[in-house]
Symmetry: D3
Subunit: 193 residues, 6 copies
């Protein structure tokens, strides 16, 4: 059994009591909701201005997107898998399982989204997200056409791009600082809940 790990290994993790009031409250609310304190929050609090910017950016997309929440998490897991980002694969894998009500979807999307048990529209959505992740310059008009044919609206397509872009940021922050996912994320949404 692995020992419990620190939230990140390459920078010091600040104590909660040393954090600005708004950040401490934000973390506490999330802890209340989740039942545990996500390591990404304790890690990002190393740079309080960036902490606020990161979570605001996330909310700016997620709270206003016409995409289903399940679709949002599918994109994030496929992108994070392509970037081999352990933190995001595990943490958002849990959210994907929960929102998609599918206990198998996280490993499928993170390992090889082309072998995932998803519908054709979601396959196209993940194909574009992974392509924009791995070789941004190869995105072309035909990718947009394919998404439109599957019924994605213009704003949904913009958000497929935005989420992919944001998690190319997030994956690099997590990998650079070596953030480690909480143990809770590994089992959340696997059924029985």
């Amino acid at each position: 059994m692995s020992d419990s790990e620190p939230p990140m290994t390459r920078f010091p993790v600040p104590d909660l009591e040393d954090l600005p009031e708004d950040i401490r409250e934000h973390i506490e609310e999330e802890t209340e909701r989740s039942g545990f304190m996500p390591n990404v929050m304790r890690a990002f609090a190393y740079a309080p201005h960036q902490y606020r910017a990161f979570f605001d950016y996330h909310d700016a997309i997620v709270e206003h997107s016409p995409l289903e929440r399940e679709e949002i998490e599918m994109i994030i897991v496929a992108v994070s898998g392509a970037n081999n980002c352990l933190y995001c694969v595990v943490a958002h894998g849990a959210l994907a399982r929960i929102y998609a009500k599918d206990p198998l979807i996280a490993e499928q999307l993170a390992t090889d989204h082309t072998a995932a048990n998803i519908n054709d529209a979601h396959r196209a959505m993940c194909d574009v997200a992974v392509k924009l992740t791995e070789s941004p310059g190869s995105i072309e008009e035909s990718d947009f056409e394919r998404l439109r044919e599957h019924g994605f609206s213009e704003q949904e397509i913009w958000d497929i791009g935005s989420l992919t872009a944001l998690f190319n940021l997030s994956n690099r922050m997590a990998t650079f600082a070596d953030m480690r996912p909480n143990e809770e994320f590994y089992t959340l949404g696997r059924g029985g809940e």
Copy 2:
């Protein structure tokens, strides 16, 4: 929730009763032991001669290797993650969790073995396995030296190579035929058993 999936999608899955006696018995014994019938067995039975050869090769390494079983499964999961093989990541991820008694190790090794919570010897072992997977020609004397410094014997080093080689075969068979892991594998070894 994903629908239950067939063992593989690109070739017909033979009926158990049509299989040669020895293969049917081999599958039934494994089903008895595991509690379910691993899809790789039903899929590989498409070519009975190759079925026998594959499982014999596996046993030839696993039953005689000086490596710990936990180490064997760690190598397999790291290799299969590097090859993005869903079947092997999920099925051997379960075995890695069970043999290493670590419910978190599968996602760690499959996603980014450099972020896994493992000791330095196992890190070196996985580094070599992934290197031999991704760019065989770049293996050099210093890789062997590093393994020896971590205490691996000559025969253990040979088997690090053998297991990596076998799962470069296995990953390609599973991906080519589009084998899908049984649902049971996703949850085995996550604790509570």
Copy 3:
């Protein structure tokens, strides 16, 4: 001579008068300061919530970073060159020329930062930024040590990571939407100013 180009080709560019008050003012202030309206602002205004989040994130790093502004723009140009992002190479190339007071630095950093006429500390800084861009998983402890040896503080190192991460987002947004740099950016800072 190329015709004047639209700010982006893959999504409609909103009219200024249709934008929320705060965004219109933000654009007008920048237009006042620069003498022209940067296309990235008109393009990002397509999604107002994300517009605010993007520029806030940028300011959260830039206004609080212990890195010199010249260093910030060097990182951005090296990262954007590695990602082949025309908008960011041209727009931040102008800023790099201005802040570094070096009319040659943009092409050098964007084309091949290892051939740029920069000091050893900046070379190390750009090496890490490009490595985190191209293969995040290969970042290792020795990269951090090298930056520390060149005198970068812990917070500066965090920000080398943050800027790289943010422009991996930004490059993908610009490439996905096919944003085109204003003609003014191509000549700004080339001397004579």
Copy 4:
């Protein structure tokens, strides 16, 4: 002129007399048939259980495949060329020349199978084998359709996959142990025989 080389450089080559009876006989039969003792046999005998498994696997495919023997060796040479495996390129290059009765085919398939003087069906067969070697995850339904259009049966297609998989194992064993081809293989089948 190069000196005669040992069968492999990274592990000790066992003496024939120390080998299990069945392996010694197997090697002697092959030596009888070929006129020389292939280095892969002396090298693989380092691990007798794996020796048996490897040659059994090879025979399980080759002796039962509906593919022509010439096609089998073409696949092996194209795969081994893609993996830059000297041993397999040279040894199976000899077999390809002999079975295809074409003294030029080995260099063509190993260097660039798309420039080889082969028919369209064999070109498709090698394209799929090389694709499965280099990027297994990119195999898709259209690859299977193309093979079917060229007249390959379902079992032949399975074996294109199996042979590719087996030589992704074999290439890695030969490269890992640094096996060196016998001088005889370089000239066999070049005409005059």
Copy 5:
């Protein structure tokens, strides 16, 4: 502001007076015409026989090609950008701006030719040049068809290949010797001349 740089850093730059008469005159003529002495000439003079061969090869294509000079420079900049060659991007970027009468074209072609403001025929021309640069073996009949459909003659197509090939030589010479572009090249052709 960067210090003035030597023509190359990895080999000694010969003195003009030590050069063979024909080479000195060739350099002086070019210096007369350009108003400055291009560093590539001083650098290549290290090996006088190769100096002559290189400039003869260049002239053999450029002076006889049915391609427009503007097209020639576009190919060179796209290829040099793909190879990340600072010298050729900057020097031929100046020529591309001058011959295409487009002050923006150099950064566009060098950074991402797919985002350049060029017509469809030139896009196809650059696509093939970059493909032949990055993965020569993937060139196929459809690439030739596409060029023909855009009206390129057989000899023009040969020269798209020749120029790409020559600058794959030139880029490697410049990168190997670490040749640095003259400061004049950075600003030539940006308008106002």
Copy 6:
């Protein structure tokens, strides 16, 4: 047995009698010397000015280089193998066998120069040539130091670069035009001559 192939497939091969006098004589001299007419000459004659430039460039290096002829051909085969260029691998493979008096060296260098039976100096020489071929920007001061430590002079090092550069041109011309090696090249230098 393969049918005899045309010198190239993508452009028309000019008749000897239509060629300029000097080129016809040059081809006839080479045919006299070799006993057959190398296809590269008939193919390159499509563009007579470039024909002259190409062979002049080759001679400018080969006739004046302090490198041994055997070393020249070793570099060419290693580079051409890295670029998967069938024509150059086969034609210069023959020359490498002849000049190095080693019938095994061509396959070794073309397939995997790190497994070739060559001395350490030649290994370093080929390492640098292949590195400059595959990722020119990664060449660094340590590569030059390593060559110097193995006793290569400054002019020899320049020529390791020049030959690599020239065959990056040559490989692309042969691949673009789809030049096919004469059958004679496959067997030349294999012993018995």
